[in-house]
Amino acid sequence: MSNVIVNRVKEFLHRFPPFSFLSDELLTDVAREVELMYYTKGEYIFKKGNPASPHFFVLKEGSVYLTEEDAGKMVVKDYCDEGEVFGVLALLGRRPYVLNGYVAEDSLLYAVPVDVFDKVLKENSEVSLYFAAGFAAGQVVVRTDLSQSQKARKLLKDATSDHGLSLFMEKGNLNFPTEVLSCDHGTSIGKAAQLMQEKDVGSIVIVDSDGFPTGIITDKDMRNRVVAAGIPFEVKVEEVMTSPVRTVHHQSDFPTIYLTMIKNHLHHLILTEDGTDGSKITGIVSDHDVFLSHGNSPAVLIHGLMNTWDVQEMKGIRDRAETLLGYFLENEVAIDFVASILSEINDVIIKRAVLLAKEKVDKDYPEECKVPFCFLSLGSEGRQEQLLRTDLDNALVFGDVENDKLPRTKAYFEALSQEVIQTLIACGFHPCPSEVMANNPEWCQPLSVWKDYFSHWVNLPDEVSLMKATIFFDFRAVYGTTSLAEEMTHHIYQVIEERKTFLGFLAKNALLNPPPLGFFKNFIVEKSGEHKDQFDIKLRAMMPLADAARLLILSHKVLGINNTFDRFEKLATLEPQNAALYEEAASAYEIFLRLRALEGIASGTSGRYITPRSLGKLQRQLLKNAFAPIHQLQEVLTVRFQTDYIPK
């Protein structure tokens, strides 16, 4: 066989997925089996209903439409250009073609025998993943298993931009002592300090007679709880130790260790044999170990935030978090992890902002500042899905007070919110254009007013109410008395229970943005205005999914799950018959979120508007595939909530 010719074919195929994932050896095997065919404009490569040929096609040059006849008219369902793979579904499903392959321009095709590809599918997981990720959106021949495409986030990665930031590697990268300094109960503080000094370590673990950890004393504890508090050194360690201790399994992966420390603001985390404090200690990780291994880690940033009251510095740290986000995305860190880190950072900033505000305002309202309140994040921040600093959406709820005290109490919380928002804006967040913020008197209300709001929206579901509902139903308590937020949630379920038809209206609202299926060559892009020729990923891809998830979770009366992926995951367990669809929807949402964040970082915007031309072929394909579950979800909503019978 001629190497020149085989190499020429290889060279072409290698440029396009899924061939780009093949090893040189496998690609050679594929290339040698390829056949070239030429069709001219107007010919059909295959027709709907034809038995599948023994090969699928890669378009070398020209263009091909995948079409369907509808009342004698040709409807183009998809468009293939150079490098596009088509005619695969019929092969994989071993059944007739579901569309026509119409030649739109003179086309040279590579026909790849499916036999050789069967081998490839078995040997290369990326390729099977690529096919599993729903080859041609909307075609249901092979059930697209998007849950697999969770891993497809890898495909969104630009292969050339590996910064090699080892943020998410195995624990080998994290060096921590496995010899843990410990002492028994009854040891004096003085003795413990001496041991720490001898071993030159910053902490000592107190163990029981079995050697299981019961508490910990750190350098900081020695300083604050012993010396500063004037406690004599003869006092026993158990008197001052922090107890119980937080432990994790010694084989926990790095993200788990990381997240546990970040979420609990821990400086030391003890690793034990079985992960509980009822087993032997195997090591101790300090935040210092983490810092050493990761110069720009979230823990460092949160630590930094916790130690400053300077707004400029807070902004600087939040900017660094954005850089970190870029690294995370490029390094394929799971998006739920990324989102929870970023939410955590945002939450810390919000908490700091509230504390700063209290310091400023409280002295003028000595009575009112004792009224319990809760600062709420709404919308995407409420759902813990805000990766970039997009618009602020928040609100404040406070405990009901007697009528005569209400004006002054309200004045206090409005003044407080005003300060909070100003701090947040100074930290680089953008004000909400429709003023859904706590400093808007309308959204800074006592619990009873909030309950009235929700009752009103549910009982009079007009356009405005539904819009409000979609924003305000996704609230999450960030600071303050969380029971107030819980009461709000219970109230919502109660009123919905009394007025079930509301869900139908919400469903109708969720169907307002149909997925951009059946697009031609590109995505549905904006026709005019500032974002002409751009694709609105928020409106057309993310909102339909977030709306559907909210509605479905409401219909199941599930409390406390505020996040779109988590909601879909929960739904998958609640409705096993639809589990595959919900898992796909969760994956699709992840893909959109990731893509939006990448776009936002690249363009320095919110990432909402994506220029389809700037996306790689694979990214376009993935994005297209991710629309499929939206369509199916909307069908579920239509049937389940009988939206066809709801007047507009």
């Binding site: 066989m1 001629s2 190497n3 020149v4 010719i5 085989v6 020429r8 074919v9 290339a31 040698r32 089996e33 390829v34 056949e35 070239l36 065919m37 030429y38 069709y39 001219t40 040059e61 040279l108 026909a111």
Partner: protein, 224 residues
């Protein structure tokens, strides 16, 4: 043939040539659709352009059947040569052929590969002459395969069947020019296999053009 050659001893027909000639007992039916034919597209790189003095250095071939180019069927072979020509090396850059075979070995592999398929080449006359020359010591007198010249086919399609060759600028029918005109990206030019691959792509495009002009059977294609 000159008169004195009658007295020259002709090389004995070798078994491989006899075997090759056995393919041609039955002619291809004129009614057979082009889509059912098998073509073997060939190209040679030679030490020069004079079939009397020069000989083959490299051979490339690829088959087309059912209007499909089969990569699997492609062949590439280098032939030992005593003659080195600076001018031809400049074109094809074959200096030290790797895996080169003797002329005998080459012919032994080539004839069965050719079989009775329709031989296709660009400016076929030259390649044919070179191939017949290398086969002569083994008793090959002539290639019996039907021949399609992609240059001639292109002229016929572009100027009609009764074209007047004297009125055509032959330069427009070089492989390079035709590839350009038929939008075939040029790669691996002046490598026998590469040229054969280009010629094969040209042929499937020309055959599609031919079909539109009513050239659909073997008979239609070979009617010059």
């Amino acid at each position: 043939m000159s008169w004195w050659q009658i007295f020259r001893k002709r090389p004995m027909k070798s078994a491989m040539v006899k075997h090759y000639e056995e393919h041609f007992t039955k002619p291809i039916s004129k009614k057979l659709p082009i889509s059912e034919l098998t073509f073997v597209v060939v190209d040679t790189e030679t030490t020069g352009l004079d079939p009397k003095k020069d000989h083959i250095l490299a051979f490339g071939g690829i088959k087309i059947t059912n209007n499909r180019i089969l990569v699997q069927s492609s062949r590439e072979q280098f032939v030992h040569s005593k003659k080195k020509s600076a001018s031809s090396i400049k074109i094809h850059e074959i200096v030290q052929p790797r895996n080169a075979v003797s002329p005998r070995e080459f012919v032994r592999g080539f004839l069965p590969y050719l079989g009775s398929d329709i031989l296709v080449a660009h400016h076929a006359g030259f390649d044919l002459a070179m191939i017949e020359k290398i086969g002569r010591p083994f008793g090959l007198r002539k290639l019996h395969n039907p021949v399609v010249d992609t240059g001639d086919l292109a002229m016929r399609l572009e100027h009609g069947i009764h074209y007047d060759p004297s009125r055509i600028n032959l330069r427009d029918y070089s492989l390079d020019k035709l590839c350009e005109r038929y939008k075939i990206p040029i790669h691996d030019r002046h490598i026998a296999a590469g040229d054969a691959f280009l010629t094969a792509q040209l042929l499937i495009k020309l055959l599609k053009e031919a079909e539109k002009k009513g050239v659909v059977t073997y008979g239609d294609l070979m009617r010059w």
